[in-house]
Symmetry: C2
Subunit: 210 residues, 2 copies
C-alpha cells in the first residue's frame, strides 16, 4: 500500500490528531523517515491525502457521468442503473467514504484546503450533473424547471434510505443501494416524469413484444 493510501486509512480511522505516523509507516510498509522525506510534516501529508482523494473521486464521478442515460430506452430502469452506479462507484467506495469522512471531521480546521475541494469537487460535479438533466428535459423525457434543483434532489432521493448507514461510516449492501435507488427514482419520476399518452404506451408495448 502506498504512503498516501495508508495515511488516508489511518487519518479516517483515528482522525488527524489521533493518527500516528509510526502506524501509517507500518501500514504503508516503509520507515517513518521515508514519510518525512516525501511529505515535510503531518499536516502536509494530510493535505496530500485530501488532494489525492478529491482527484480520484472526481475522476470516478465524471467516469460515471459518462454512463448517464442521455438517450434513455427505459427511463426508470436507466435512471435507477445510473443512481446505483453513482452510489457504488463514487459514494460508497473507499475513496468516497474516506473523502467524506475527512471533510466532515477536519473540514473546519483547514478552510483554504477545503475551499479548494469545494471548487474542484461539488463546484464542478453539480453543474455537470445538472447539465445532463437539462438535456434530458430538453429532449422531452422530463418536465424539469430548474435542472440544478432537480440534480440535487435526484441524488438526495437516491440516497434517502442510506443516510443512517453513511452517518456511522458503514457501507450499505448492494441490496440496500438498489432499494434506495429504486424508491428514489420512482419518486423522482412521479414528480418530474412526463405522463405518456395511452397511445404511446401501447406503441411501446407493441415494440417491446416484437
Amino acid at each position: 500500500m502506498s504512503i498516501i493510501d495508508a495515511a488516508a486509512s489511518v487519518f479516517c480511522r483515528e482522525g488527524f490528531a489521533g493518527a500516528n505516523i509510526d502506524l501509517i509507516a507500518m501500514e504503508a510498509g516503509v520507515s517513518r523517515q521515508t514519510i518525512y522525506n516525501h511529505h515535510r510534516d503531518k499536516e502536509k501529508l494530510f493535505m496530500a491525502v485530501v488532494r489525492d482523494l478529491t482527484e480520484r473521486c472526481n475522476a470516478g464521478i465524471f467516469a460515471t457521468f459518462a454512463s448517464f442515460p442521455d438517450q434513455p430506452r427505459e427511463l426508470e430502469a436507466d435512471l435507477i442503473g445510473f443512481a446505483v452506479r453513482m452510489n457504488q462507484n463514487c459514494i460508497c467506495n473507499r475513496d468516497g467514504r474516506f473523502l467524506r469522512k475527512l471533510i466532515q471531521t477536519e473540514g473546519e480546521r483547514y478552510p483554504e484546503l477545503f475551499a479548494e475541494w469545494r471548487d474542484q469537487g461539488p463546484g464542478r460535479t453539480w453543474p455537470a450533473l445538472a447539465a445532463r438533466f437539462a438535456r434530458l428535459a430538453h429532449a422531452g423525457h422530463l418536465a424539469v424547471d430548474d435542472p440544478d434543483v432537480a440534480a440535487r434532489q435526484f441524488l438526495a432521493l437516491a440516497n434517502a434510505e442510506l443516510q443512517t448507514t453513511f452517518m456511522l461510516g458503514g457501507t450499505p449492501s448492494e441490496d440496500e443501494v438498489l432499494q434506495s435507488a429504486t424508491h428514489g427514482v420512482r419518486t423522482f419520476l412521479r414528480a418530474f416524469g412526463k405522463r405518456r399518452s395511452a397511445a404511446a404506451v401501447e406503441k411501446q408495448a407493441l415494440l417491446a413484444s416484437a
Copy 2:
C-alpha cells in the same frame, strides 16, 4: 457553561483524540479535578456527552413533530413550515450539529454506544414521522404507498440543497433553509400530492375568503 456543554463543544472541534481536558475545564469554568470527580475519565465523559445530546435532540424532534400539520389548511405551506422547523430546531441547531459530527467522527470507535443512539434516535423518530405521513395519507391529503419511504424522502428532499454546507459543519442561513424546504416540499407534493379537482379548489378558496 456546564461541563457537558463545554466537552461537547471541544470534542466536536478537536475530535476525541485531539480534545484536551484542560481546555474543556477552562471553557467550562471549572478545574480539571472537578471533571475527573464527575466523570471518571475522558471516555466516560465522552459517553455522557453523546447520551446528553441524543436525549436533547430527541426531545427537540418530538416537540417539533407535535407541530406536524395533521389537519393541513394549506398543505404545501404547512409542510414547508414543518420542514423549516425540523431543520432549524433539530438539524441545524447546536445539539443537532454536534451530535451529527460526533457520530460521524467517533461512531466506529464505540459500537455499543452508537447502537444505543441508533435505537433511541433514528429507531424511534423515523417510525413516529412515518406514522404522521400515514395519517395524512389516510385522511386523503396524500397518495402515499409506503409511509416509511415517504418520510425518509421528505426529509431528504427538504435537506437536498443543504448537504454541502452540512458536510463542512456549517450552519445554513435561514434563507437557504427556506429555499431548500420550499423546493423539496414542492417536489414531494408533485410526487405524492393529490390533484384537487377544480371544484375542490374553488370550494377551498371560498372557505378561505369567508
